[in-house]
Amino acid sequence: MKKILVCLKQVPHKDARLDVRSDGSWIQDDNIKFEINDYDTYALEEALRLKDQGEAEVVVATVGPERAAQALRTALGMGADRAIHIWDDALAETDGLGIAKALAAAAKDENFDIIFTGLMSDDANCAVTGPMLAELLGIPHITAVVKTEFKNGDVEVERELEGGALEVASLPQPCLLAVQTGINEVRYASLKGIMQAKKKPLDKKDLGELGLDAAAVAPKLTVEKIFVPPKGAGAEIIEGPADEVASKLVGKIKELGLF
């Protein structure tokens, strides 16, 4: 039976109101809605499709505070078999490498055949956790995956390149695939799924239980400040009658090579 890990992150909901904290350290996230990172939902769907095709156990894991359990429950409701919830106060300030270390510690004895992650997170946008996790586990990885095919212990993938080009690559298992959005149609959890999720195991692990300590996940990267760029800077207002404005705008788009 294949063992598949899907790493997912809980991020602010698309419709959530985002204000920067007064100290500029991060956004104000005390009383907003959260959801599973969009990229990760496609990663999860890809894993669940493998499960639908045959024998596979799908494990979901996240690093995040208490609230992140909801994301795991949603994933269990969609069909994942069990969940690992990693949290420790020492992880609150960590960076992508610290998160990758925590995930690697949880994954190392499980011998997963395939690990799926999203290409990046909607909030932090770093796109590093997947590749770092693969490196820490000593397995190959590939990013921006838009199509997967599993055959004879190998994985053949298509990945997205700049300008609409595609690249075909093949990797041996075990490996890590960081997937792009839109590669499949993500299912909704059914009511039965949500009910069954209650009975599925959700293991909580802190750093000690993973054989790590605060020093191991101390950030190597420090966020100095989050801010919204001032309005107007770099903007050019084109004025005049509509047809002139339109033709100037088209000229500008061509000039900048945007189309």
């Binding site: 909801q70 949603t74 409701g77 959890a189 949500i194 209650k198």
Partner: protein, 388 residues
Amino acid sequence: MDFAPDPELRAIEQEVQKLAATFGDDYWLDHDERKAFPWEFYRAFAAGGWMGTIIPEKYGGAGLGVLAAGTLLRAVAGSAGAMNAGSTLHLSIFGMGPVIHHGSEAMKQRYLPPTATGELHVSFGVTEDDAGTDTSRIRTFARRDGDRFIVSGKKVWNTKAQQAQKILLLVRTTPREECAKPLDGMTLLLADLDPAYCEIREILKLGRNAVNSNEVFIHDLPVPSEDVVGEVGRGFYQLLDGINPERIMLAAEAVGIGRRALELAVAYAKQRVVFDRPIGQNQAIAHPLADSHSELEAADLLWQSAAWAYDHGDRSGGKTNIAKLRAAEAGFRACDRALQTFGGFGYAREFHVERYWREARLLRLAPISQEMALNHIAEHVLGLPRSY
């Protein structure tokens, strides 16, 4: 007292919001205008197993309570579909309450599983022209004929009668004059809505036009006695297991629709600039919206409290009517204020709030009028003398 959100209810809300959000305002405007039943929406929810929310697990449902069903319907009515969406689903959800609580084992085995999957549509046949809220005066009569009943009469406001294969009919089996109490002598039948004996006429109405409301004329409809729900003569009392959940779930829908309207109004008030400032900066716009938000929050607690009480065995109906009263008021006011916020555009169909407004107005009339809810509170909660 624990106000922490229940993880399971949150999961229900989140998934329902996601699924409902795939049917946008244009889908609903189109179906409302064409009076077309929203089959795609119905099937999507049936496939997710949502029709079986309160049906016991043994019969293919999820075995959850009214609190869970209200959470589901609040999210559904809080989507672009508003009451059209709520009414597409809610009869399947609360309508079979009397069957769950009072039906025979054979009846439950036969009818609950297809209700849970969404294959079976059931219409509710209680209200009559001449009886209105005075249910004891219904005239549809079922006379015994050997091992069956023969039903004749007329019902009105039968939601989804055009889609339904069965109708949960409240009929008189003993004339009112011959009963010890006016509400005795009525029986519930889970009858076939057989076109050979039932004529269905659609009622044209102010809003919620994707889901039909009808008059049903019944001429000598045979109903086998195994289709009697519970006990002959106790129908009204058994019906309460559908009526109270209905009021609670519609209170939840009122909160949903009010929130939806408010959301659109707030977004518009931020973005619409008149006299060089967003209109939401004017207190004449901001205060009513803030006030409605607080009213909706209060109503939200009330329906949840009523649902919790019902799920814990309280059948008194006091909290139910309080929740229905306040939620219907808060929901309609929020829609009305949203319409006002949009100014002239609020009256235009393409901005959608007028559709919410038309639909929310219904909740002050149904499933029971505000006045009858007040009568219930006055009589049964405050102990005042009955006024009617």
